[in-house]
Symmetry: C3
Subunit: 151 residues, 3 copies
Amino acid sequence: MKAEQKLQEMGLTLPEPTSGVASFIPSVQVDRLLYVSGNTGARMYEQRGRVSQDLTVEQGYEAAKFAMVAALASVKAALGDLDRVERVVKLLGFVNAPEGFTDSPQVVNGASDLLIELYGDTGKHARSAIGIAALPGNAPVEVEMILLVKE
Amino acid sequence: MKAEQKLQEMGLTLPEPTSGVASFIPSVQVDRLLYVSGNTGARMYEQRGRVSQDLTVEQGYEAAKFAMVAALASVKAALGDLDRVERVVKLLGFVNAPEGFTDSPQVVNGASDLLIELYGDTGKHARSAIGIAALPGNAPVEVEMILLVKE
Amino acid sequence: MKAEQKLQEMGLTLPEPTSGVASFIPSVQVDRLLYVSGNTGARMYEQRGRVSQDLTVEQGYEAAKFAMVAALASVKAALGDLDRVERVVKLLGFVNAPEGFTDSPQVVNGASDLLIELYGDTGKHARSAIGIAALPGNAPVEVEMILLVKE
């Protein structure tokens, strides 16, 4: 089954890819590596603020899932088809969190679990998940990633 | 026109590349990818502190521009000529900012806009821009990047 | 002398590689690049909290060293032998630190110096070192890296 169909069966729809409001572009491909810009999914997930203060960890998990859906919209725009992903290589997840927050991994799992649900072993990736002071637009989560593209 | 000439016409001069005071080096090239270490441009831009508290967003934009000039000095040291850049692939921008700061993208645009001014489409890159608690020497902005080098 | 023997002579033992408690894996190799997930070394270094508040910079340096030992355990699990590293390419170091902390580089040197001690010039890498609000489990340091693997 195709990855985008799986997304739809999960009730998730790819948004329009990010337009170029800022001075960068949604992704750049070099040889077979696709570098995907940071995405917050803020157009799909309305809650703003800091996980553990303004949102629960469970809500942060949801926010991370939608951040990944936004990133996948950039992937589709670049590759034409989510099934052209040969491997998810590396994910870096940023969680909007107060000092001393310990559960960034549990939050970023919302993005990682979605990749594994869509892609199986192909979706398994290296990762770091950190808590930071401030994200664009006060979004709760942002994710960036590197993918290997099929030849 | 050559990228370094454009820099000079903008009144920007490449500094000496960072010396090895710390336990790392300014860049590493693997095949055609050049990984450039984080740069703050602190030798060229004197203001220190947190954007939105100690600096305005406009000053942060300036700081990001000089952080990129410092990064370009490392690029020149590695490649001999800024025109050997085939593509700017990925930029990661860190903004020294208080909790809840929302405008990291506007700040990091100072680095991104300089790349696009110098390189045009070649300078367009994937990016994340985040606000963090602390930067080396209390600099307002740090940028790291990945470039594709001409064969 | 082999890198792992050097580690042992320094009194450092590779731990078991991280098990898959979270939704990601310890490393992913693409062609000759090995992307290693973020590691905190928390199983080997017991101190928790923020560098300059709960730990000194010197203790942070120790924490960074153990974070790198944990990362090297993932490298050994992936490659079978630490001597299959052709080059350390890029390191990203996160320091659990309060607002305005200026000495992230001195802390992350604990990881960088270990690489250079083990590998010599092969261990010299590009790097960024930033201070952030929150790390998993309130660990003081986390490091992720990219390595070039021998053919």
